[in-house]
């Protein structure tokens, strides 16, 4: 089951997504972080997000690329849990934050620009594998589409790829919520 949280920069989408996860009743809560860059601004952003999450029982997993590798982490963590004999009672929710970073990391991996369709399909297939292994997957993604600026080809491809991923995921999602000035607007489900 997929839930999509969509919004612009500083729209309150992360706080909303975290609230959604914290109000859910799953045994395990994972925060799948995709931000990788280590400049001061990113570090400050990561710090702010960590503070938002502190005390909320999140297990943090970091995968700037290849998010399906989170499945291995989850299996390792939960295989050591003998509180229930039935593995099917080990329910879990994963909050992936965020798709725009994941796409940038996949698309510009190792300083080489990957082809648009290849990136879109690769990410969608990784997400599909991850979704199949968890009880619920909440994906935070960005609205980067409304500034009306004509960018050069590479950035245009990036925007187009994120638009395609958002649309494909929304099609598959049970619920899509847009967050504006901290207010959720349900656009599907």
């Amino acid at each position: 089951m997929i839930t999509i949280i969509y919004g612009g920069t500083s729209s309150g989408k992360s706080a909303y997504a975290e609230g959604l996860v914290c109000n859910s009743k799953y045994n395990y809560r994972y925060y799948l972080a995709t931000m990788s860059s280590q400049d001061e601004e990113s570090k400050a952003r990561i710090k702010r997000h960590r503070k938002l999450r502190s005390g909320k029982r999140f297990i943090t997993l970091e995968h700037p690329v290849d998010v399906k590798n989170a499945i291995g982490d989850i299996e390792r963590i939960e295989s050591g849990d003998f509180s229930t004999e039935d593995p099917y009672h080990k329910s879990n929710i994963v909050l992936l934050e965020c798709m725009s970073n994941l796409l940038a990391n996949e698309m510009f991996k190792g300083g080489v620009t990957q082809e648009l369709d290849f990136c879109v399909n690769k990410i969608l297939s990784d997400i599909q594998e991850l979704e199949a292994k968890v009880s619920e997957l909440v994906i935070v993604t960005n609205n980067i589409f409304d500034d009306g600026i004509a960018y050069e080809a590479e950035t245009k491809d990036y925007i187009r790829a994120l638009g395609a991923i958002n649309s494909q995921l929304a099609l598959r999602a049970n619920k899509v919520v847009e967050v504006t000035v901290g207010i959720p607007i349900v656009i599907k489900g």
Partner: protein, 110 residues
Amino acid sequence: MILIVGGSYQGKTEYARQNFPNAKYFNNLHTFIKKRLEDLKSQDEILAEIKDVISEGQWIIISDEIGNGVVPYDAFDRQWREVTGRILISLAREATEVHKVVCGIGQRIK
């Protein structure tokens, strides 16, 4: 206080005039925030100044949503969008109503 947000040129001001003709207006809040940031004011100082301005009477605050684009190359522009977003979230929390205007059509979201 009533907050009206939306993209640029969506008819926010016209929508406000039609629906709230007797209120006082604080228009282009995003531009106001930009000017204050250029004067090196902090997010908290700017928010306090806005609250001071709207402390008496019925006010309508109108702002562009500027966070819905590609991350700007310029550090100041990035700061501007972030501070504007955070201030709008604070104001939305305190507003009695929040409206979003798209293509001239307003929708009350709070």
